[in-house]
C-alpha cells in the first residue's frame, strides 16, 4: 500500500504496540538545551537513573546566552542554569557545544549544520521548534521536560499516532517573496489551530524548489500552525546538503544512507487525513499586525477592521490585539513605523537569511531612530558570514553584529525590546510580551526586516529586488 513519509518513519520506530495504548516509539536523536533540561536531569539523579544512550544526545546553550561581551553573564540565575547544563552534560556523558565552542548555536540551527539531523530519524528536543528538523524528512517534535526525562532514561516515548495533513503549495513563488512568507501566509489563511493534533507534510512545486535553509523556515513554524510536527520528503537537495557534514555518514555508507533517505519520500498515490492547497503566486510579503502569528497580511494591505470578522470572539480578539499593538483598524501596513529590527532566531538566522538581508542593506543606512541588530544562528554561521564580509555590510549600514543565540526571539537574555516600542522581527512568535513586557512584535522575512530598517517603516521589499535585477 502506498504510504506517506510520516507513516513510513512512524512504523519503523515502533518498539512496542498494544491496543488501547499509545505506541512506544524509539528516539534516534535527542537535542538538549539549558532551559528545559535541568529538572529532567534532577529527576534522573533523584531516582538514581542514568542516561540510556548518551551517544544519541547532543546539548548546546542558546536561550540564555548573552550575545555581546562574552563570556560574561550578568544575570546570576541565567548563569546558574547555564552552568547546570555544563555539569549535567559532564556527569551524564553527553556531548556539549558550550558557550564559545565552535559548534555552539541555536539548537535548531546546529543540528542540521552538524549533520546530526538526517532523514528518517525520530528527533526530539524540549523545545517546540524542533519541527524545524522536519525539513530533512525527519519526524521531529517538541516535548516537555517530563518527556525529556523519559527519553533520557529510556530513549523512547509513548506516542499516539496523530492524523496526517498535506499542505500543498502549488506553482512558483514570486521574486522577493520568501519561505517565511509561505508559512506566514498558510497560518494567516487557516489560523493557528489548523494543524492541531496533526503531523503536516509540505508538498508541491513551490516546496520542491526551496533550498534546505528555506525548508527549515517553513517546518520551523509548523508549531505556529498548531501542528505537532511538519516535514518535507527528502530529495537530492536534502542529500547534497548533508554530504560531508560532521555527523553525516561517510564514503560508501553515505551512498547507502542516501539511497535509504530517498526511499522515505511519500509514495505516489499515498493519502492523508486532511489535504489543504495554496497557490504560491498568490503569496506576497507578509507582515503580522497582531498578537498571534495568524494575524498577518500582505504588506500592500491594511490592518483589518471589525467588519472583516463575523464572530463576536474574533472581533474582540481583534480589539485586544490592536490595543496591545497600538494600531488602528484599517491602517495601511506600510504606515507602521518601527524602532527596532531583529534579524535572528531559529526561523531565520542561517547564512542565506543573512545574505538576503545584507543584499538589501548594502550601501544604505539604517533609518534614524531605528536600532537594528543581527544575531547569527550559530557560531559557524557567524564565521561563514564574516568570511563573505556580511558583517561589514551590516556594520557599515548601522546594524549591530552579535554572537549567536536565541536573543530577542524570546528575550531571556538582555536583548529585550522596550515596552510600547515596535520591532520588525524575523522570529516566529508575536505573542504579547514575547520580546519584552509591552513590546510589539511584527513577524517578517529577513529581507522585509532589512528594508524596514532602512526606511523606518514597513515597505514592499519587492521594490528593492526588482531594482537590483
Amino acid at each position: 500500500m502506498a504510504k506517506n513519509i510520516i507513516e513510513k518513519i512512524w512504523d519503523s520506530h515502533v518498539v512496542y504496540q498494544e491496543a488501547g495504548k499509545p505506541d512506544l516509539l524509539y528516539i534516534d536523536l535527542h537535542l538538549i538545551h539549558e532551559v528545559t533540561s535541568p529538572q529532567a536531569f534532577e529527576g534522573l539523579r533523584l531516582a538514581g537513573r542514568k542516561v540510556r544512550r548518551p551517544d544519541l544526545c547532543f546539548a548546546t546553550m542558546d536561550h540564555n546566552v548573552p550575545t555581546k561581551n562574552l563570556p560574561t553573564i550578568n544575570d546570576p540565575i541565567a548563569k546558574k542554569q547555564i552552568m547546570t547544563l555544563a555539569e549535567n552534560a559532564k556527569e551524564f556523558g553527553i556531548e556539549l557545544a558550550d558557550m564559545g565552542h565552535p559548534d555552539q548555536g541555536i539548537v535548531h540551527v546546529i543540528g542540521p549544520e552538524l549533520g546530526l539531523t538526517q532523514p528518517g530519524k525520530t528527533i526530539v528536543c524540549g523545545d517546540s521548534h524542533t519541527s524545524t528538523h522536519g525539513a530533512f524528512g525527519a519526524l521531529a517534535f517538541g516535548i516537555g521536560t517530563s518527556e525529556v526525562e523519559h527519553v533520557l532514561s529510556t530513549q523512547t516515548l509513548w506516542q499516539t499516532k496523530p492524523p496526517t495533513m498535506e499542505i500543498r503549495v502549488n506553482g512558483k513563488l514570486g521574486v522577493g517573496v520568501a519561505a517565511k512568507d509561505i508559512i506566514l501566509a498558510i497560518i494567516a489563511k487557516w489560523g493557528i489551530g489548523v494543524g492541531t493534533g496533526h503531523i503536516v507534510e509540505y508538498t508541491g512545486e513551490a516546496i520542491r524548489n526551496l533550498t534546505m535553509e528555506e525548508r527549515m523556515t517553513i517546518c520551523n513554524m509548523s508549531i505556529e500552525a498548531g501542528a505537532k510536527a511538519g516535514l518535507i520528503s527528502p530529495d537530492q537537495t536534502t542529500v547534497d546538503f548533508l554530504r560531508g557534514r560532521r555527523f553525516a555518514p561517510k564514503d560508501e555508507n553515505f551512498e547507502k544512507a542516501a539511497k535509504y533517505w530517498l526511499s522515505l519520500a511519500s509514495d505516489e498515490g499515498c493519502s492523508y487525513d486532511v489535504v489543504l492547497e495554496i497557490d504560491a503566486d498568490e503569496i506576497e510579503p507578509i507582515v503580522t499586525w497582531g498578537t498571534n502569528p495568524s494575524m498577518g497580511t500582505g504588506v500592500s494591505k491594511t490592518v483589518p477592521t471589525s467588519s472583516d470578522f463575523d464572530s463576536e470572539s474574533d472581533k474582540s480578539a481583534l480589539q485586544k490585539a490592536l490595543a496591545y499593538m497600538g494600531l488602528e483598524e484599517g491602517q495601511p501596513i506600510s504606515s507602521i513605523e518601527i524602532q527596532h529590527v531583529f534579524i535572528g532566531s531559529c526561523t531565520n538566522s542561517r547564512l542565506s537569511d543573512l545574505r538576503s538581508a545584507a543584499s538589501i542593506v548594502e550601501g544604505k543606512k539604517v533609518a534614524p531612530g531605528v536600532k537594528a541588530f543581527v544575531v547569527p544562528g550559530s557560531y559557524s554561521t557567524k564565521a561563514a558570514a564574516e568570511k563573505e564580509g556580511l558583517d561589514k555590510i551590516f556594520l557599515e549600514a548601522g546594524f549591530e553584529w552579535r554572537e549567536s543565540g536565541c536573543s530577542a526571539c524570546l528575550g531571556m537574555n538582555e536583548d529585550i525590546i522596550p515596552s510600547g516600542e515596535r520591532c520588525a522581527s524575523t522570529s516566529n512568535r508575536n505573542f504579547e510580551g514575547r520580546q519584552g513586557a509591552g513590546a510589539r512584535t511584527h513577524l517578517v522575512s529577513p529581507a522585509m526586516a532589512a528594508a524596514a530598517a532602512i526606511e523606518g517603516h514597513f515597505v514592499d521589499v519587492r521594490k528593492y529586488v526588482t531594482q537590483q535585477v
Binding site: V15, G142, N253
Partner: protein, 196 residues
C-alpha cells in the same frame, strides 16, 4: 505524581482563546532549575501591573475565584512554547483541572505527566460554563472515573479521555517506571536498528 479523581471547586472562568504558554508563564521565570515555586508567576503580566500590584479586574484576582482548582478557557489553550513550566505553574497555583474546547499538543501531554486533568468539552459547553461562571460563582464536581463535570445546577457535561492517560492520572503512575517494564523490547529494537 498525585493521583486525581474527584475535584470539587468553583470554576475560574478565563474567557480567552489561544492562551499561550508565554502568557501562562513568562520567560523571565524560566531560569529556575527547580520544578516547584512557579505558581506565584502564573499569568504574571495579567495578574500584576508594572509595579507588581494586583490588577483587580483580572479574573484570578477576584476573591470569589481565588481558591479555584478548575480553570476554564476557550479554544487552543496552551499553544506556543513547549515549556513544562506552564503546567508546573498551573499546578503550583492550585489548579488540578483545565477545561477548554481544545488544547495545544505539547501542553496537553505535559498535563498528564504532572497530574493535571485536561478536559475537552465542546465550544458550546465551554461557552455555557464560562457564561455561568462569569455571572456568579459556579461550583462543579469533576469526576474522572465517571468522565463527567457536574454543575451545582444539576447540569452534567460528559467528556472523553484516552483510557491510557486516564489510568495514569487515576493511579498517579510514574511513566518512566512503566516503560522500564519494556526493557527487553527496547533492547531488541536497538539490536536490529540500522545505523549508517
Amino acid at each position: 505524581m498525585e493521583p486525581i479523581n474527584i475535584v470539587n471547586s468553583v470554576i475560574a472562568p478565563l474567557d480567552r482563546k489561544n492562551v499561550d504558554t508565554d502568557q501562562i508563564i513568562s520567560k523571565e521565570f524560566l531560569k529556575r532549575i527547580e520544578r516547584t515555586g512557579f505558581g506565584r508567576f502564573l499569568f504574571y503580566h495579567w495578574r500584576f501591573d508594572e509595579q507588581g500590584n494586583e490588577i483587580s479586574d483580572f479574573v484570578l484576582n477576584k476573591p470569589e475565584y481565588k481558591n479555584s482548582q478548575i480553570l476554564v478557557a476557550q479554544d487552543n489553550f496552551g499553544c506556543g512554547s513547549s515549556r513544562e513550566h506552564a503546567p508546573w505553574a498551573i499546578l503550583d497555583y492550585g489548579f488540578r483541572v483545565v477545561i477548554a474546547p481544545s488544547f495545544a499538543d505539547i501542553f496537553h501531554n505535559n498535563c498528564f505527566k504532572n497530574g493535571i486533568l485536561p478536559i475537552k468539552l465542546t465550544e458550546t459547553e465551554c461557552d455555557e460554563i464560562l457564561a455561568k461562571g462569569l455571572k456568579a460563582p459556579y461550583d462543579v464536581e469533576v469526576n474522572l472515573e465517571a468522565q463527567t463535570v457536574t454543575g451545582n445546577d444539576g447540569k452534567v457535561y460528559s467528556f472523553n479521555i484516552d483510557p491510557y492517560y486516564k489510568q495514569m492520572l487515576l493511579n498517579g503512575w510514574d511513566e518512566i517506571s512503566l516503560t522500564f517494564q519494556y526493557e527487553d523490547q527496547i533492547r531488541a529494537f536497538e539490536e536490529k536498528r540500522v545505523v549508517y
